[in-house]
């Protein structure tokens, strides 16, 4: 995970001239509100990055300026929140996410009252989670499974924050069967974020993003363990390489030191037409399931079949083979 200094974070990530433009102008309502499935990658990453900057500013402020009497455990928890949000921000920057602002407006009095802090933070985190879930859906639709997985990883931690902040407010932490799917597209989160960016009745500020260095100084030894995102493919090098190498065929060999029957069809009722010795391989390109529920692999040469549980793959991904007629 890249380390981003405050200076490079702001220099590299802030959309040029954002402070001079309103949120509407930057995102464009036509694009944000008028679309159905049309969020582009830039919009998704910009919204997520902006949300993480709001979150880091919010948690930093409650830890440094709040009049709420937080217990030592609660302070540690909130420092963990702050560190996690900063790490999310760094992942987004590493994936070309650009924030539209670096200063934010906050509901008046939110740092003076425990209950208000809990409820406003719950609303924010609920919005963030729903936005990440929508991002997961959209990344899946756009054909980016690793980004989809990473968005879900972030959502999982935001949901922890939501639960614990409910607890801080004296409410049951886990109150819903599923994380709420409030948005189909991440851009639908824009109206919820807008007052934090533009201010308005009942909001005060703005509060500037404190910067990564100031955040690290505050977190010190109360940070959370960095976890690899799916987009860090080095973690899954073997799996990714194997997947990319899959060509729709697979090569198998007996699992043990025995000969395997090769049959004329995908069940034991078909006659034996050959045998596969322990040192031999068979290339297969299709599969079918017999009445007992066992998959059978179909050989590429002639119509010969071998039961899946008596062989192992030595190349390719057999389970991905297409289903073929028996």
């Amino acid at each position: 995970m890249s380390q981003v200094s405050r200076r490079s974070m702001i220099k590299g990530a802030l959309v040029s001239g954002a402070s001079l433009l309103t949120f509407n102008q930057i995102f464009g309502y036509n694009r944000i509100f008028g679309q159905t499935n049309g969020d582009d990658m830039e919009t998704i990453l910009a919204l997520a990055t902006t949300a993480e900057l709001i979150a880091t500013t919010h948690y930093y402020t409650v830890l440094t300026e709040s009049k709420i009497a937080l217990s030592p455990d609660e302070v540690n928890i909130l420092r963990g929140f702050l560190d996690a949000e900063l790490q999310h921000l760094e992942i987004l920057y590493a994936n070309q996410g650009n924030s539209v602002a670096t200063q934010f407006y906050i509901p008046t009095g939110v740092y003076n009252d425990r209950q208000q802090f809990s409820e406003i933070t719950e609303q924010l985190e609920t919005t963030f989670i729903a936005a990440y879930l929508a991002a997961t859906r959209q990344f899946a639709e756009l054909g980016f499974p690793l980004l989809a997985g990473t968005a879900a990883q972030v959502g999982a931690i935001e949901q922890e924050h939501l639960a614990i902040v409910r607890q801080i407010g004296g409410r049951r932490p886990n109150n819903s069967a599923l994380a709420k799917a409030l948005f189909y597209n991440i851009s639908e989160a824009a109206p919820a974020l807008q007052p934090f960016l533009e201010g308005g009745s009942g909001y005060e500020g703005p509060k500037p993003f404190p910067g990564a260095d100031a955040i690290r100084d505050l977190i010190r030894d109360a940070g959370v363990v960095p976890t690899a995102p799916y987009t860090d493919t080095s973690v899954f090098t073997q799996a990714v390489a194997t997947q990319e190498a899959s060509t729709g065929i697979c090569t198998v060999t007996p699992r043990g030191n025995y000969n395997c029957n090769v049959r004329s069809g995908p069940s034991l009722s078909y006659g034996v037409v050959g045998r596969l010795a322990p040192n031999e391989t068979l290339t297969v390109n299709g599969q079918a399931v017999d009445n007992d529920g066992f998959p059978w692999w179909r050989a590429t040469t002639n119509d010969r079949w071998i039961r899946s549980d008596i062989v192992r793959a030595v190349a390719g991904v057999c389970d991905s083979l297409p289903i073929v007629a028996k």
């Binding site: 989809a148 999982a156 599923l178 194997t242 549980d309």
Partner: protein
Amino acid sequence: MSQHSRREILKGGVLAASIGGFSQLFGYTSLFAQDNGDTVEMILNLAATAEMLACTHYYTALTDSNIELIPSERNFLVAALDTEHDHLKFLVANGGQPVTATFYTPRNVYNDRNTFATVTQQAENAFVAAYLAANRRIAELGNSLLAATVAQIAVTESVHLALIRQLGGLLPNNISLGEALYYSTSEVLPVLKPFLERGTGFSGPLSYPGDDAIVNFVGKDGVTAVKPFTAFSTSGSSS
């Protein structure tokens, strides 16, 4: 989300596990030797099995445990039970079939708070990772609504993980991202296996208590039902 009685889930949903054994049902060749080839059917079956295990585990902790739980802990566990049951119903309604309805659990898990917290943390950690891998794989297969729905489940399981850590006296939030322990959901199988086949140090079996028993036990203390992404049409409107 459809409602299933215990009889419906057991009758229609459990694969013939008692006949074939877990290994034979899934096929170790296809599960352990594979690389990235999980099918949606396999993912849903594994998830349904895990959820049935989770229901059985939380139900037992609440009804047959010697651990002294304070009211807020009990409240959270009741909510966790209701949540896992909701997930199970969703998975079964979408074709998932648990491979068994009986499970083994580590000895003393319901007699000792630390053992309970440690075992549950390990299990929930594996479940979160399995759902994250399912999200990645289903996204890869192009089913965006189901991918987002399993993400909804993963995100919810992560709360159980945090609160169980807290129950065990640990900081609830200790990581920056949900842990991507697996690239494929089937990689969770070694974690599940001792619960299904009685691993060393495990006792049981415990039977899934059934839908009616869970619903009756949870009573009015259940969690709010939430719409899954699969309830959206592909154009974004809810069906």
